[in-house]
């Protein structure tokens, strides 16, 4: 097969690759831990994805890299920011998208997208892990609840603990004292989710919600966060089956565009 491309997103936690053919069909994807060496992680993600699609990596016609480690992919034909990639990926999956909420490992961003899939404006969190995946990760370790189990637990909560959305480290000590006071786990988890949503909502509000809203990034897998976010924005939110690979998907679309 000829003309296939790879989009690769080297993030702080995971590195994701998407292989796409000329007709914009996704052939395969992969998600690997970024670990210490981004270049190795990128190569691994690409090799795994190529293997799944039954392709030889050297036959790739074009490669676009995105994410914080985009400079660590020496073979990339082009580098595009994750802002443009998440926008392109979200519009590809949900054409009604006008707003993208991406909550990733170490940053969260809200992107306003035009009808043509182009970025109109964006807001990102700054120098603080509150409101990001890292916040949830720290809390899941503290509460000894697996990260992917947090969403389901919070859905069953009847009440909700109040947790600050200002600082991950301080919020962690708040959680410790809640645990000490025998606050039910599910209520703490719901409070944690609320804290993330409040932080992201502050950014979302700046851009004014309109049209379809799509959530991307690993945190979109958390049903609890999505439900609270929907409550905040006052509408149903599109959630992709694989929200983590939307950045890589967008990168693949850029690779096709440039061909």
């Amino acid at each position: 097969m000829k003309g296939w491309v790879i989009g690769i997103d080297v993030g702080s936690l995971t590195t994701d690759a998407v292989i796409m053919d000329e007709d914009k069909r996704v052939l395969s994807f992969s998600i690997v831990d970024t670990g210490y060496n981004s270049t190795d992680a990128a190569r691994e993600a690409m090799t795994v994805a190529a293997g799944r699609a039954g392709l030889e990596l050297e036959d790739v016609s074009r490669l676009v890299a995105t994410g914080y480690g985009r400079a660590a992919v020496p073979e990339a034909n082009k580098r595009v920011t994750e802002i443009a990639c998440h926008a392109a990926g979200a519009v590809y999956l949900f054409p009604d998208t006008e707003m993208v909420i991406d909550i990733g490992g170490q940053d969260s961003k809200v992107i306003k997208v035009g009808k043509d899939g182009r970025v109109q404006d964006f807001v990102m969190n700054d120098k603080c892990a509150a409101g990001t995946g890292r916040f949830l990760e720290v809390m899941s370790a503290k509460l000894k609840i697996p990260l992917d189990g947090m969403g389901d637990i919070s859905i069953s909560a009847r009440g909700e603990a109040a947790i600050s959305s200002v600082c991950t480290v301080f919020a962690e000590s708040e959680v410790v004292s809640l645990v000490a006071r025998n606050c039910p786990k599910e209520e703490i988890v719901k409070g944690i989710h609320r804290s993330v949503v409040n932080r992201v909502w502050a950014m979302t509000r700046q851009l004014r919600v309109s049209g379809g809203v799509t959530m991307t990034g690993g945190v979109a897998k958390n049903r609890g966060v999505v439900a609270l976010m929907e409550e905040r924005v006052g509408r149903r939110i599109n959630v992709p089956d694989e929200p983590q690979i939307v950045g890589a998907l967008g990168a693949a679309l850029f690779a096709l565009r440039e061909k």
């Binding site: 914080y68 595009v80 920011t81 994750e82 802002i83 443009a84 940053d107 182009r118 970025v119 109109q120 404006d121 964006f122 807001v123 990102m124 700054d126 120098k127 700046q206 004014r208």
Partner: protein, 440 residues
């Protein structure tokens, strides 16, 4: 004043300073020969003269102590009044910027922090307090002030900061209080400010040991106004495509109008700079080699990133051609009028951008965007400067709605680079570049 410091000051002024300036000039030459930036156009010839002026100013300041009355002044204070008494003035904010550009911010700030000053305090204030407590400064030494002169037209922080200085130096603090301009300036506000000037004069006579001379005061006003107008003309040359200067140049060439306002040297310097720029315009020489996009900057400079940013943007054919910051010294000082000195001085200083309402700022930005043919806006949200940074997201949204100008906010600080994240800023700027290129 005793005789010895007077003689020493005169000697340094006439013989010592020219010598030091000569050396500073030589150093500049050596550097210029080694480094030539490719995406940037030819450097301004004037820069050498600017360096001489500023080196001389700081060099002489250390001999001013005892020879002339010395004042430490905030950037927005009506210094013209002090000039009438022949004060030697030092601007801690200008000195802070200088420390910031030399990447000394965190080191000097942490001295103040060690004495209990919070990291959330303005970094100009922390640097200055750090300098007072340690005596460390890249300019050798700052003269001990006889008086502190502050105006709250730029922020409220200066009130607390200068009170700390007054306590430290055990000297008087003179405050010019400017009512905030919510809609328009009324008569009572003007009277209130003029009365303050009237009260200041006998105090300044006492502290300086000199009589107030109205003639000299009017001459200073005339010089100050002419310099501000010349600075305005300097900035206006950047309306030309390609622009003969970048805003990064302007940030540096701003120093005389900030700290030597009302002195003949400032007017003389801006006339020289202006003629160089006009010459460039007539020859079609641009400040960057390939000017494709024109940008506007909002807020104070990120002093430690000036060099990096000027290259980063020039490499992409993007040139900053205007800034609300550099414009501030051309905007209201021209209201000064020697025929109505006190009242015009009150207007000139109370209507400055940071003492004025947000609607004024929006209109100003709209005007600059149109006049300078701006394609995009970079908004610096400065951790130090709250009055300048508040409202920026609203301004950003309104400018996008009204003029469809793409913009980006970068969070940083004026001098304390511990509050700056390279990786996060790069991502934001690259997304902005994609956006602006996409727009055609």
């Amino acid at each position: 004043m005793s005789i010895a410091p007077e003689i020493r000051y005169r000697f340094m002024k006439d013989i010592g300073a020219p010598l030091v300036m000569g050396m500073a000039g030589l150093k500049g030459k050596r550097k210029a020969a080694i480094k030539r930036d490719i995406p940037l156009g030819p450097p301004l010839k004037c820069s050498k003269r600017l360096k001489e002026i500023m080196t001389r100013h700081y060099f002489l300041s250390r001999y001013a102590e005892g020879a002339r009355p010395v004042a430490w002044v905030t950037s927005g204070a009506p210094v013209e009044l002090l000039r009438a008494f022949d004060f030697y003035t030092v601007y801690p904010e200008n000195h802070g910027a200088l420390c910031g550009a030399q990447k000394l911010g965190p080191e000097l700030c942490s001295i103040a922090e060690g004495h209990g000053y919070n990291q959330d305090l303005c970094s100009y204030a922390r640097i200055d307090i750090g300098v007072c407590l340690s005596g460390k400064t890249p300019v050798g030494r700052l003269p001990r002030p006889d008086i502190l002169f502050a105006s709250n037209n730029i922020c409220q922080t200066v009130m607390y900061w200068y009170r700390v200085l007054a306590h430290h130096w055990k000297i008087p603090l003179m405050v010019f209080d400017t009512p905030f301009n919510f809609v328009s300036l009324d008569r009572s506000a003007i009277t209130y400010m003029v009365r303050q000037f009237e009260e200041m004069i006998p105090e300044l006579e006492r502290i300086s040991g000199r009589k107030f001379s109205e003639k000299k005061f009017k001459e200073v006003l005339r010089l100050g106004k002419s310099s501000a107008m010349a600075w305005g003309e300097v900035l206006a040359t950047m309306k030309t495509v390609p622009s003969p200067m970048t805003i990064f140049d302007a940030f540096v060439h701003l120093a005389p109008i900030v700290s030597l306002r009302g002195l003949p040297v400032t007017l003389e310097y801006y006339n020289v700079l202006l003629s160089e720029l006009k010459d460039r315009v007539s020859k079609g020489i641009g400040a960057i080699v390939n000017e494709r996009k024109r940008l506007m900057w909002d807020n104070i400079a990120i002093w430690y990133k000036i060099r990096d940013f000027s290259r980063l943007f020039a490499e992409r054919g993007m040139n900053f051609v205007t800034a609300t910051y550099t414009n501030a010294w051309a905007e209201t000082i021209s209201y000064m009028d020697e025929r109505n000195p006190m009242e015009s001085l009150a207007k000139a200083y109370s209507l400055v951008i940071l003492n004025n309402n947000l609607d004024h700022r929006l209109k100003l930005m709209e005007r600059l965007i149109k006049e300078y043919q701006v394609d995009g806006l970079v908004i610096h949200s400065a951790r130090s400067c709250k009055p300048y940074s508040v409202g920026q997201y609203d301004l950003k949204r309104l400018l996008m709605e009204r003029l469809a100008v793409p913009s980006v906010v970068i969070e940083a600080d004026i001098t304390d680079f511990r509050a700056y994240s390279e990786e996060q800023t790069t991502t934001r700027l690259e997304a902005f570049f994609e956006n602006i290129e996409d727009g055609g």
